[in-house]
């Protein structure tokens, strides 16, 4: 089937996947992928993990994949959208006509606006270019301070410990990964960081950075007036959706580009997917969510591609997330917002357990540490109407694998 030209802006996981999925769905028209990072699409997750201490095989596909599938990769930035003429403007003056436009513009790291935050050695991590710089600096760093005890911060800390770099993590909330996981999982992660030699300071925030005469960071100043030595600072305090193009084109923006359950903006020729999109989620009681994950990017892409190819598809996928820190594989299925009861099952002493999160007695999320089978089964359960009760999970010897298996797919 053919709907004319499709232009995709953003060469991250979502933008890449929507191109692949369009071709998989039989789309034969002209397909252009605008990659503002000036490199063909690559995997981002290893950048805060294995890439920093070893080798990582990052490109999604070999370079010849794109011409073979008639995907025109344009390594330029989009500067505007003309919704009347149906054209995307590029920074080299070119204009790309579209019948359907997919915004997969992602997110960018939040920066700290504090005295000294522009000093050399104070860095954020999002792109391959950021990761290459950080990797080089980690080789010689003797004192790393990570600001933010979320996914990126803790993963970078774990990678730095593999390189034997002394690390302190500073988290302004009362515990690590407070927005993402339960207190039980948070405690487990923080304890492991302690065992591995990382210092984690919670309930502390940064007020300034000191530098030397050459303009390089030397100390991090905390809100209690204390100073931590640092020759490298990684700021991992979250990301903000890149909504500039959408807002400039008059599309509705509210913590992300606002889309409906078909991932369409109010302009029916324009879709938004991945980190930049705010959509109504069945797994969050119909509330709008904006998620930053590979799963969200990939499943959004599948859904938008189907819709563009004339197969109306609502977005219903169960959200899931993962992180690797030292030997802990953390996996989260579902969204735990509003959780009012947690039950732990498995063997926390051995580091193999899951936290089952309930809201008003109903299962809404499962966090697993080195229990991948629980995670896979939890995703299947959450895709339907989970019948698991807190009482059942609390029964001694409870094992999700021993229950009748939830249906696949």
């Amino acid at each position: 089937m053919d709907v004319g030209d499709v232009v995709v802006v953003g060469g991250g996981q979502a933008g890449f996947q929507v191109c692949v999925s369009l071709r998989d769905n039989g789309f034969t028209g002209k397909l252009t992928l605008v990659c503002g990072e000036r490199v063909p699409p690559y995997q981002r997750p290893p950048l805060s993990k294995s890439f920093l201490y070893g080798d990582a095989d990052l490109p999604f596909r070999p370079d010849d994949f794109y011409p073979q599938h008639r995907i025109d990769v344009v390594e330029r930035s989009a500067t505007g959208i003309d919704r009347i003429e149906h054209k995307v403007h590029l920074d080299d003056g070119r204009q790309l006509p579209y019948h359907r436009l997919v915004l997969a513009t992602g997110a960018y790291p939040r920066l700290l606006n504090l005295p000294g935050s522009r000093l050399r050695g104070v860095t954020a991590l999002r792109t391959l270019a950021d990761a290459e710089i950080l990797k080089g600096q980690l080789e010689t760093s003797r004192r790393l301070v990570v600001i933010g005890g979320g996914f990126i911060g803790l993963e970078v800390a774990a990678a730095a410990r593999k390189l034997d770099v002394p690390v302190t993590v500073i988290e302004s909330l009362s515990r690590t990964m407070a927005r993402a996981v339960s207190i039980q999982m948070s405690t487990h992660l923080t304890q492991e960081h302690g065992r591995q030699g990382t210092t984690v300071l919670v309930g502390r925030s940064v007020t300034a950075f000191d530098g030397d005469a050459s303009g390089r960071v030397t100390k991090v100043v905390l809100d209690d007036g204390s100073r931590l030595e640092a020759d490298l600072v990684v700021v991992g305090v979250g990301v903000a959706p890149d909504t500039e193009l959408a807002a400039g084109a008059g599309l509705k923006v509210d913590n992300g580009v606002v889309v409906d359950e078909y991932l369409r903006t109010e302009d029916e020729t324009i879709y938004a997917i991945g980190d930049c999109a705010s959509y109504p989620s069945a797994h969050s009681g119909g509330q709008r969510v904006r998620l930053e994950s590979v799963q969200n990017a990939v499943d959004h892409a599948h859904c938008a591609a189907a819709n563009i190819c004339g197969k109306p598809t609502r977005y219903t996928a169960v959200p899931w997330f993962w992180s690797d820190q030292y030997g802990i594989k953390l996996q989260i299925a579902g969204i735990s917002t509003g959780c009012d009861q947690t039950v732990v099952a498995g063997d926390p002493e051995a580091g193999k357990f899951s936290v089952f999160c309930f809201r008003q007695g109903k299962l809404i999320a499962v966090e697993s540490a080195n229990k991948p089978a629980d995670h896979v089964l939890a995703r299947r359960l959450l895709a339907g109407d989970p019948d698991l009760t807190p009482q059942e999970v609390a029964t001694p010897g409870f094992d999700l694998k021993a229950r009748p298996k939830p249906p696949v797919g």
Binding site: P46, P59, K401
Partner: protein, 107 residues
Amino acid sequence: MAKITYKSFDGTTTIVDVPAGRSVMRGAVANGIAGILAECGGGATCGTCHVYIDEDNTVPLPPMLDLEDELLEVTASERKDNSRLGCQMPVSEDMDGLVVHMPERQL
């Protein structure tokens, strides 16, 4: 480098040169071979790079660790004695000639 043969459920056969150190999973994904999803990117966390090792296999395979063993219990297609996860098999020169079969479904 090792030649790996991927046989999809519908019978399509694809032979790929996979560089040593890459996984059997990456060998498939990087060449756009359908039938191996690898949703998690290769961390033994999702179970969507499930393959069956050919019954007549003679090449040596890397050992199976606990996480892989656990995930194979919950794969979307039935676990068999010859089930493995592609992401947990880094390719070495002596795996040249490996044949893997893709299951009916990964999700």
